[in-house]
């Protein structure tokens, strides 16, 4: 084929050259744009994209450090961490899930409910994530799986640290428990709890959460586009939480809990010199371990519905009318006045009425106790004596002294959610109980009426009587130990301002008189006295109550009485104060149980044994000698007090 006419070769070449040059210009500008873009992306924005690339391939994962241990005062572990193995599976690596599940089922327990839960989790997760087959494996199951792991492609054993309470419910009201973080807690403290799975929900676990939780570590993991782990780039294990040494003795705790078995009540033992809580028991107990992994709804409902209210901490939150156990504090208040004399005899005839009013107030002993002084009034727990005393003191003064002894407000113990109790101060009366009648003053005088105290307040106030009128703030954490250095930071006891003390020796006298409650032949706690090598100052109380039907679940008697005892030993320099409450104690043999518990706790602390007969002879001799060194302390104090009042106007307590 030929061209139709002669080509203008030179013209075509020139035309072609022009076009190529134009094309070259276009191409050059495009190359310039491209190079400019590369400069922008690779040089100018390099840091940005490099960060993105790093972000692409590394995933920081939180590493939760071990939580601090909680130990009793002697180092017995109350709460520790132990690895829990869980069985997980990578769904994308499993060819046939049903076969795998059948294989797992042949190795470990795997019931239909587990299967259903697994199916639910499997559907919710994406195929490259690890899905838990069983959350918690027993040690034997973990071993079995580990031995067969090579036959189970895509199956992993992963270990996590879980909180464990090896002694179960022992001291659970002090220790508290750890439970999975709730969304609300996370929302309230998003920074503090970031990365953590659970937090203390009650007791020391809650109050000392920030000490126990340590500092979060992290792990930088290189992952591919599917999120699969390639390698661990960096690992910071975090800082493990500090260990807590409690003031509580596991031994005393165990003894008290055993004695409380199947009964409702509370016991608290303090060292009056420091405020250290030696035992804190609220019965019935519950096992905190199920809470750690998230307690089932049915189980939780059972705990909530239990009329014994095992979840309540009766020591901190149980509000009891103190009954006669409040009388020593009124006696103390009276001893500070100019008009009261402890040996002035008062006639107690079984009933009493306010002058000008013929409503009768009854004594617990219908025929009365005759003409008695303070010592016998305390020993036999005369009500008439204290009716008269209360009437003379007046509610304002009574409330002031009660407030001084710490009633009506939280004691400040280092445990969460403590109740304040109720003291009928003028302000409280204005707010809740106006008008106030004289009769209410009178019954408040024997610990009834609106007065409500917690066992802890009672023990702490009694400890003030036993410790020169200085009340110590109770505490349960003796020291915080840094696990790396081993150094312990001890809690410093904190004294509250001294209770108003106007009469020399009045405290010594009161304490000596209170020992008659145990040692006196008519003493209400005389059963305690048997073979005791030391003197015990104590006061019992019985609070009579009407129970309101509570959520319809309560089936017990409507009218019941709680038995209380508060005791301090050894007098004159007490080292332990115990307050015990037994709910629904009634009268008779059961009402002696608090006394027995108090004696057991005191013996355990002072002698090392629950029963005196097991204690070492030297220990017993030591206390007996101490007792004989100060034979008539009360008489002595009485003489001192009397001497101080010589020549002052003497009046009958009730005027």
């Amino acid at each position: 084929m030929r061209k139709a006419f002669l080509p203008d070769a030179g013209g075509e070449r020139r035309l072609f050259a022009t076009r190529v040059v134009i094309m070259l210009a276009v191409m050059s500008s495009l190359v310039a744009i491209l190079v400019g873009r590369l400069v922008y992306v690779e040089v100018w924005r390099h840091a940005h994209y490099a960060a993105l690339a790093r972000g692409n391939l590394t995933r920081p994962l939180p590493v939760i450090p071990p939580r601090g241990l909680i130990l009793d005062r002697r180092g017995i572990v109350l709460a520790d961490d132990f690895p829990v193995y869980s069985l997980t599976v990578e769904p994308h690596r499993v060819a046939h899930m049903a076969t795998l599940l059948a294989r797992i089922k042949s190795l470990i327990g795997f019931n239909r409910r587990d299967a259903r839960a697994f199916t639910r989790r499997l559907q919710a997760s994406d195929p490259y994530a690890l899905v838990a087959v069983r959350r918690v494996l027993s040690a034997a199951e973990a071993d079995t799986i580990a031995a067969h792991l090579h036959e189970l492609p895509g199956v992993h054993l992963t270990a996590q640290l879980h909180r464990n309470y090896p002694l179960g419910g022992l001291a659970e009201d002090v220790v508290g428990y750890v439970a999975p973080l709730t969304a609300r807690e996370l929302a309230r403290h998003p920074r503090r709890y970031a990365g953590y799975a659970d937090a203390g929900q009650s007791g020391v676990e809650e109050r000392y959460q920030r000490v126990l939780m340590g500092r979060l570590g992290f792990e930088d993991r290189e992952v591919d586009a599917q999120g699969r782990l390639m390698k661990v780039l960096a690992r910071n294990p975090g800082v493990r939480g500090d260990n807590l040494y409690l003031t509580v003795s596991a031994q005393m705790q165990a003894v008290a809990e055993e004695m409380f078995k199947d009964k409702r009540g509370a016991a608290v033992a303090l060292d009056p010199r420091t405020g250290a809580v030696l035992a804190l028991v609220s019965s019935p107990e519950f096992d905190p371990n199920p809470f750690v992994t998230g307690i089932g709804r049915r189980r939780y409902q059972a705990l909530i519905r239990d009329p014994g209210a095992p979840l309540d901490d009766r020591v901190l939150n149980g509000l009891y009318p103190p009954g006669s156990s409040i009388k020593p504090f009124y006696a103390y208040a009276a001893l500070q006045t100019r008009w009261f004399h402890p040996s002035r005899l008062v006639r107690c005839r079984g009933t009493w009425h306010i002058p000008g009013n013929d409503h009768l107030f009854h004594d617990w002993l219908p025929w009365g106790m005759g003409r008695i002084g303070l010592r016998r009034a305390l020993e036999e727990s005369s009500d008439v004596y204290f009716y008269k005393l209360a009437y003379r003191l007046g509610i304002t003064r009574m409330a002031r002294y009660l407030t001084d002894f710490g009633f009506g407000r939280p004691t400040g113990i280092d445990l969460p959610d403590e109740s304040a109790g109720v003291v009928p101060t003028p302000r409280w009366i204005r707010a809740h109980d106006a008008p106030w009648y004289a009769g209410e003053t009178v019954i408040t005088g024997i610990g009834q009426g609106p007065l409500l105290v917690t066992p802890l307040q009672l023990a702490d106030a009694f400890a003030a009587l036993a410790h020169h009128g200085v009340r110590m703030r109770p505490y349960v954490v003796r020291g915080i130990q840094n696990p790396r250095t081993g150094r312990v930071h001890f809690t410093k006891p904190h004294p509250y301002p001294r209770v108003a003390h106007h009469r020399r020796a009045s405290l010594r006298l009161l304490l000596a008189d209170l020992t008659r409650v145990v040692s006196g032949s008519l003493g209400t706690a005389h059963i305690m006295a048997h073979r005791l090598p030391y003197r015990v100052a104590a006061k019992t109380g019985t609070a009579q109550l009407w129970s309101r039907p509570w959520q319809g679940a309560y089936k017990g008697p409507r009218f019941h009485s709680d038995a209380l005892i508060v005791a301090a030993a050894p007098v004159p320099h007490p080292r332990i104060v115990v307050a015990v409450v037994l709910e629904h104690a009634g009268f008779g043999a059961r009402s002696a149980i608090p006394t027995e518990i108090a004696r057991a706790l005191i013996n355990l602390d002072l002698l090392g044994h629950v029963h005196v007969r097991h204690a070492s002879a030297s220990r017993i001799r030591y206390f007996e000698q101490a007792r004989s060194r100060s034979p008539g302390e009360g008489a002595q104090a009485g003489r001192l007090l009397a001497a101080a009042r010589l020549g002052k106007g003497r009046r009958d307590p009730v005027g």
Partner: protein
């Protein structure tokens, strides 16, 4: 007479190609997950490419000119065949399967269309008249429409581009160019108004990949991350985290340049770009030296097309162009495209090697 001359091989072009092939081996070994087998496959592919180039260089331009029409016709037929019996992969019907082999006729049209148009214009005096331009446009639109129907918009655009390049180099009058450009500009809003919502969305995503980082924008964003994290000197060979950890899809094919960028950095890019530009420069030199209108047009348009192949891929990876499936010549792993490119270069060598020494 050296061996190069005897076998019609252009020595600078050949050396540049060897350098590119070596680069390809290194980059694909890394991008393919340090897989020696994969690199061997690449080597084999390149070897086949060189054989094709060598063979193409032995055929004289005159023969090419004679075979232009049948080749074009065959290509169009193959395209029609694809639409009839093609294999559907990734939602598009682009391949014809021959047992284990499958070929992509649309790639072939990148070569056949310039040949066809060069043949058409070589028989006419240049510059072409308007009617000739229209006829040429119609010729080239047949394969373009067939390819667009597959659908393979990227290749269709490139094939269209190859035809336009020939038209432009042939000397299409500026007035015609202006009219076409104005018509395109005027048609754009009308087209936009007639598009489906999802199509508009797709175009929007093409220009704003951040709007859908895990979907349509994923390629673009991961490519940009690979390029940007390369920096001035790069992370070093075998250290492209984007490819090794599979963040970058198509790291051995369309996004091989991104891997190259992350490993060798800005200076590496400049060197690679220089290599490509040298090949294009050499191709244009050959076009200038060509002795007849057919060879001249064909050589120039193949070179310019080669440039656009390179530019579109690099622009797409570095984020100035939307993501269209265009491989980087020679460097990317891709059978048909490599063979066509090597055939292009073989034709360039043939044009150079077969020129008559005495005019």
């Amino acid at each position: 007479m050296t061996n190069y001359e005897r076998w019609h091989i252009d020595r600078p072009l050949f050396h540049a190609l060897l350098a590119l092939a070596a680069t390809s081996l290194f980059v694909l070994y890394s991008a393919g997950g340090n897989n020696l087998l994969f690199a061997l496959g690449d080597a084999l592919r390149l070897a086949v490419g060189f054989v094709v180039m060598f063979a193409a260089a032995q055929v004289s331009p005159e023969t090419y000119r004679k075979w232009s029409v049948p080749l074009f016709g065959g290509g169009v037929l193959a395209l029609a065949l694809v639409l009839a019996i093609g294999v559907v992969r990734f939602g598009a019907r682009r391949w014809i399967a021959f047992g284990p082999l499958s070929i992509q006729p649309s790639e072939f049209m990148k070569l056949a269309v310039p040949m066809m148009l060069a043949w058409y214009f070589s028989r006419r005096s240049l510059p072409p008249r308007l009617t000739q331009v229209i006829i040429a446009a119609l010729i080239m639109l047949i394969p373009v429409l067939l390819i667009a129907k597959e659908p393979d918009l990227g290749t269709a655009v490139i094939v269209l581009l190859s035809g336009v390049i020939v038209l432009f180099l042939a000397g299409m009058s500026w007035r015609t160019i202006a009219v076409v450009v104005l018509a395109a500009v005027a048609a754009a809003p009308v087209l936009w108004a007639h598009m489906h919502h999802y199509q508009r969305q797709r175009i929007y995503i093409l220009f704003h990949p951040e709007a859908d980082p895990l979907g349509a924008g994923y390629h673009a964003i991961q490519g940009m991350i690979a390029v940007g994290s390369g920096g001035i000197f790069g992370q070093g060979w075998l250290h492209s985290s984007q490819a090794n950890l599979h963040f970058l899809p198509d790291s051995t094919t369309d996004f091989a340049f991104a891997v190259f960028c992350q490993e060798f950095g800005f200076f590496g890019d400049l060197a690679l770009l220089a290599l490509y530009l040298f090949i294009i420069y050499r191709g244009l030199r050959i076009a200038f030296a060509a002795q007849d209108s057919y060879s001249r047009l064909l050589a120039a348009s193949l070179s310019v097309l080669f440039f656009f192949d390179v530019f579109i891929n690099m622009g797409m990876v570095s984020g100035i162009l939307p993501v269209v499936g265009v491989p980087l010549p020679i460097l990317s792993y891709g059978g048909t495209s490599l063979l066509i490119i090597m055939a292009d270069l073989g034709i360039l060598m043939s044009i150079h090697g077969h020129r008559r020494l005495v005019n």
